[in-house]
């Protein structure tokens, strides 16, 4: 094969693998990004069984099912080949995503609605568990030795770009369903949320067409022609000490820390901006979109660099810098979004409305909180909602000790603060590019061809699905346990990242495998 045709082939391989993987991430993220809207449609809070199904849908798909998907499809990939396995995961993901957009709401078909959504979400999780390992293996097995990190890093951009596209499609749909924004958001919440799910089927159709035209990985095809394909990939991967020790090393010395840094940089950052800093829906998402856009090229930079200096220290330095600076960066984001030091334009103050809500989980219906909401304008252009809260207790003894308090919500920050926040999110995602850019090449080089798909998929999906996927939830949970410290959620990432850094630094080799053909 000439150099030009080899180069053309590798770019076709990257395009076919990346587009499909990007679509799978897009499909997976839209469910998470629309969780609140979906919950209203399918999981009514007043019904405890539906709420339970909601919890299962959130947890089961993202955290339990992904490693199972890795086992099921990893095994298939090592038995029948990479190409057809990740084609199958793509069809399952696209089909289930499209189907979620078709399921009638709880109001129409009752319990069948949340059950169907839960089932389809499980299929999504399984498919995602099988996709990444196949795509990374497929590209790595086509890539030349000295460019494996560079070429596989294109696959690494897809997870972030999938989030980028899901946020973009959601924001566009939310804004353009009616001429005025309020009606458009109402329509989006009623039925427009289905559109991002339907979009998936078009993307999947294109990707299937591209992937069908690709050939099987040359290394796997060679193994198959020589009759050397593994008879039992699961047993060979996890039943033999020599390979199991490498699976454990990959998990505890690399993917565990990489997963928490990734999910902190992209998902907890968004949750923190929205729920702790209380920035409004649109700004919190566009800040992330800009951060992703500026940082994404660095996946390729660090992936390519890892071909020259090795994978280990790029990943570990990214992890170390991240865990050392998280407290500082998140504190900066919190400080930037406080009203302290701002000058209010008092003549612009506007009364928005008031509401009385029952105190949550109150057994009796007599105690409630009264909220009055004001729109407050500041001289720098920021606009916050000031919420004054007053508790209304029936019992006079309790009423006597109750304090009123004020908090700020629905913050629209000024342009300069907005840019600074984009800068901090960019730094957080830059850390992600360091730990995540070289990891596909690192994992591929750790395992032999005949059981590569199975062996690399499991540590990847435990690291990312379990340790990473749980990050936003555990971090939020920690902030509800330690109410006085709004940054307490970061301790989960810092501790997991620190343990992973120590293991990685001491146990992992920086050697670049010159031959992945064995």
């Amino acid at each position: 094969m000439t150099q030009v045709s080899a180069s053309k082939t590798i770019w076709q391989v990257i395009a076919a693998s990346s587009v499909g993987t990007l679509i799978e991430w897009y499909d997976f993220y839209i469910f998470g990004s629309l969780a609140t809207v979906i919950a209203d449609q399918f999981f009514p809070k007043e019904n405890p069984t539906a709420a339970l199904l909601s919890t299962l849908a959130t947890f089961a798909a993202g955290f339990i099912v992904r490693p199972f998907g890795a086992l099921v499809f990893g095994r298939l990939g090592d038995l029948i080949g990479r190409k057809y396995t990740f084609l199958l995961t793509l069809i399952l993901m696209g089909g289930s995503t499209f189907a979620i957009g078709l399921v009638p709401g709880y109001a129409t078909i009752g319990f069948a609605a949340p059950l169907l959504v839960l089932l389809l979400r499980l299929v999504q999780g399984l498919a995602l568990g099988g996709e990444y390992g196949g795509a990374a293996t497929y590209v790595a097995e086509h890539a030349p030795v000295n460019r494996r990190g560079y070429y596989t890093s294109w696959i690494q951009t897809t997870a972030t770009l999938g989030l980028f596209f899901s946020l973009g499609v959601i924001l566009i749909t939310r804004h353009f369903l009616a001429p005025d924004l309020e009606t458009s958001i109402k329509r989006f919440n009623d039925w427009g949320w289905r559109i991002p799910f339907w979009v998936s089927i078009l993307l999947v159709g294109v990707s299937i067409y591209i992937r069908l035209r690709m050939n099987e990985s040359p290394l796997f095809a060679q193994l198959k022609s020589e009759g050397k394909v593994s008879k039992n990939p699961l047993k060979e991967s996890f039943g033999h000490k020599a390979n199991l020790k490498m699976v454990l090393l990959a998990l505890f010395g690399a993917t565990m820390g990489q997963g928490v840094v990734w999910y902190t940089g992209q998902f907890y950052a968004q949750s923190f901006l929205e729920n702790v800093c209380r920035i409004n829906f649109d700004q919190s998402r566009t800040i992330l979109i800009w951060g992703i856009l500026f940082a994404t090229p660095f996946f390729v930079v660090f992936g390519g660099w890892s071909d020259k200096i090795g994978r280990k220290w790029i990943m570990l330095i990214g992890m170390l810098v991240a865990i050392c600076s998280y407290q500082f960066i998140f504190k900066q984001m919190l400080t930037l979004t406080q009203p302290t030091g701002k000058t209010e334009l008092t003549d612009h103050r506007k009364f928005i409305g008031e509401k009385t809500e029952l105190i949550p989980k109150q057994k009796t219906t007599t105690d409630s909180v009264h909220k009055s909401i004001w729109e407050v304008h500041y001289s720098d252009g920021a606009v916050f909602h000031e919420v004054k809260v007053d508790s209304l207790f029936k019992d006079p003894a309790r009423a006597a000790v109750t304090k009123q308090f004020t908090y700020y919500d629905e913050k629209k920050v000024d342009t300069w603060t907005y840019r600074k926040l984009i800068g901090w999110v960019f730094v957080l995602i830059l850390y992600v590019t360091m730990v995540y850019g070289p990891i596909a090449a690192f994992l591929v080089e750790l395992f032999p061809t005949r059981i590569r798909y199975t062996s690399m998929s499991l540590p990847y999906h435990i690291g990312n699905g379990v340790f990473g996927g749980l990050t936003p939830f555990i971090a939020t949970l920690l902030t509800t346990i330690h109410l006085s410290d709004k940054l307490s959620g970061l301790w989960y990432t810092i501790i997991i990242g620190a343990v992973c850094f120590i293991i990685g630094a001491i146990y992992i080799s920086n050697r670049i495998d010159p031959d992945v053909n064995d």
């Binding site: 405890p48 709420a51 339970l52 919890t55 299962l56 947890f59 089961a60 955290f63 339990i64 033999h240 000490k241 020599a242 390979n243 199991l244 020790k245 490498m246 454990l248 090393l249 998990l251 505890f252 989980k361 395992f447 032999p448 061809t449 435990i462 379990v466 749980l470 346990i481 343990v499 120590i502 293991i503 001491i506 146990y507 080799s509 050697r511 495998d513 031959d515 064995d518």
Partner: protein, 79 residues
């Protein structure tokens, strides 16, 4: 460095059960504070998911203590 790996093996062996005990203790405390179905499910999911991972950590520590990581394979024939 190999000696450090072996000594650290003991740390990883202890870390697995310690992490699970800490998780169960925290789960019990939080379920006690808010004993509704969702809280129980969430914490049960945590414990069920992290239990095999903690066992994996103990195995990792055991291999480390036994010197399995003193030499990492340089080609697939060693696996």
């Amino acid at each position: 460095m190999n000696q450090v790996k072996k000594w650290l093996g003991i740390v990883w062996i202890l870390l697995g059960p310690f992490a699970i005990l800490y998780l169960i203790k925290t789960a019990a405390g939080e379920i006690g504070k808010s004993p509704d179905t969702n809280t129980i499910i969430q914490w049960a999911v945590f414990v069920i998911i992290f239990l095999p991972i903690a066992i994996g950590m103990v195995i990792f520590g055991y291999y480390s203590l036994k010197g399995e990581y003193d030499h990492l394979p340089v080609n697939s024939k060693e696996i």
